[in-house]
Amino acid sequence: MTSPKGRDRSAPRGALRRRAIPYFLLGPGLIWLLLFFVVPLYFMGRLSLESGSLETGGFEFTWEWSNYGHALGDYQDRFVRSFFFAGSATVIALLIAYPLAYAIAFRGGRWKNALLFAVVAPFFTTYLIRTLAWQTILSDDSPVVSTMQTLGLLGDGGRLLATDGAVIAGLTYNFLPFMVLPIYASLERIDVRLIEAARDLYSSARTAFWRVTLPLSAPGVVAGTLLTFIPASGDYINAEFLGGTNQAMIGNVIQSLYLNLRDFPSAAALSFTLMAVILIAVFIYIRFAGSEALMGEEAEKAK
């Protein structure tokens, strides 16, 4: 810096250093994700193609593709059930979340922050305990069940626990905030003048909603449905606490194969299939729903 000569030399080096800065910032975190997210997926893929058993001296890598066939054949019904439960929970959550997010965004007024707080409040209690709270609420001698029995909505020996409905309700509850927040965020971002313009041009409130508000909030709906559907389809706590043996989901199978039966290749094959199915479904969904919905964030930054 002191001598002109030194400055000449440092200029390109400084530019180079400046260009390297983002990589230094990214480096440690991305390496962590590579080592402990991407590499483990590779190992899981490997494990899913191994054969053998713990009794006969462990597993060996043999390109055992039949693991996939066996696992899918044995647990097909759990797969179907998982996606059915997750899909139902997503639809119900959307029906609850959209009007709620709409009310908070457009009617919230000075209560907005308090209402948003109420939406995220479930996150502040332990996941397992709030699911157990539902177990309490739906348990056989709870006021809910006895009220429903008195009203004739439920037979005398009828139960709420250990039914499909209980598991779907639990999934809906546990992932509802993931649905509300993105929808709220996209509604909040809408320029109210666009809706007013539609009204000025003599559209009815309903038409303005369907033609202006709803399309503009689509990115939030897409993000919300994904954030609900993905964790719900892999979940096994709700099925375990609120369901019976007939409600077991694919997550229950993966857990017990890994941790209890120690049949690692089948468990790995199932996990891989679950991930593949979800990725394909997400891909199709995004294609269908319009990719700009998810890339909205990127597009906004590019502006």
Binding site: L33, F43, R46, S139, G234
Partner: protein
């Protein structure tokens, strides 16, 4: 459309929203109420009588206590590391143009779009193949991993609204880069980082699925509850859950307050009504400090 019908419809939406909020809060109320229950058997399912016993003794059950403090330790350690790594990534993504941005973005988003059971199973597969002993270290690795993406998302969303002109002004007024960072950048960044670390902490202390795969003999708070669920959960667990809830509420109120302060600080600059520019303090506060 008649006025009466409109009034009914407007009420209907509000009533619907109120019911949805009640639905969201109901289990929390149940947890709090049942922490005062005095169950006769092992199962805390039906209301049998009021007692303060499980609050005064909240921290006197050794296995529950150990599990809770292990969770606190784990959450503190993983939050610290994940917040640092995630904040650095967010700064790189918001402030620099560089080659490889898309794959970097992709690598950050995919873990959030992967079911936890798959993440847990994949990590366990790797640990098994390497023959690593499961315990605090493997839990720590896993918790940092799944927290990083969330930290990036929260910090990035707040950094995008960051007014770079404030830093330029400080530099123009003769501040050194270090002083600028200390007196302008850091105070404006603090709420975002605090909010992100709060989220990371909450994710870590609440994680069951991934921990269940990689804990080995270690027992965290959620793992303890899972193990105890079959035999009947001690009521003290409800008290601790309620305490945890209250502490998080206070912590969140604090970050919201910090956020407000940062906004006030950023709005020292006079508004220029005619010239809208990116990152004006007119930006609405980010929804919910817990973000996503």
């Amino acid at each position: 459309m008649s006025r009466a019908w409109r009034a009914v419809r407007e009420r209907a939406l509000n009533v619907y929203a109120a019911l949805a909020i009640a639905y969201l809060l109901l289990p929390i109320a149940v947890i709090a109420v049942f922490s005062f229950n005095d169950p006769e058997g092992k199962f805390n399912f039906t209301w049998q009588g009021f007692t303060l016993e499980h609050w005064t003794n909240a921290f006197s059950l050794p296995p529950l206590n150990d599990a809770f403090f292990l969770s606190l330790e784990l959450a503190a350690a993983s939050t610290l590391v994940a917040t640092i790594l995630g904040t650095l990534i967010a700064m790189a993504l918001v402030r620099y143009q560089f080659f490889g941005r898309r794959p970097a973005n992709f690598l950050i988003v995919v873990p959030m779009a992967t079911p936890e059971v798959v993440i847990g199973a994949a990590l366990l597969s790797m640990f098994l193949i390497y023959g690593l002993e499961l315990g605090f270290a493997t839990l720590f690795i896993a918790h940092v991993m799944f927290s990083i993406s969330f930290v990036v998302v929260v910090v990035r969303s707040r950094l995008i609204g960051f007014d770079r002109a404030l830093e330029e002004a400080a530099r123009d007024l003769g501040a050194t880069p270090l002083t600028t960072f200390r007196t302008v950048t850091l105070p404006l960044l603090t709420p975002a980082v605090l909010g992100a670390s709060l989220l990371a902490f909450a994710l870590s202390i609440d994680d069951f699925v991934i921990s269940n795969f990689n804990a080995g003999e270690s027992v965290t708070f959620p793992l303890f509850i899972y193990g105890a669920a079959q035999r009947g959960i001690p009521v003290e667990a409800y008290s601790i859950a309620t305490i945890l809830f209250l502490v998080t509420v206070v912590a969140m109120a604090f970050t919201v307050w910090q956020q407000r302060r940062a906004q006030q600080m950023a709005s020292i600059r006079p508004e220029q009504e005619d010239e809208p520019y990116a990152g004006t303090p007119a930006m609405p506060p980010a929804p919910g400090a817990a973000g996503g």
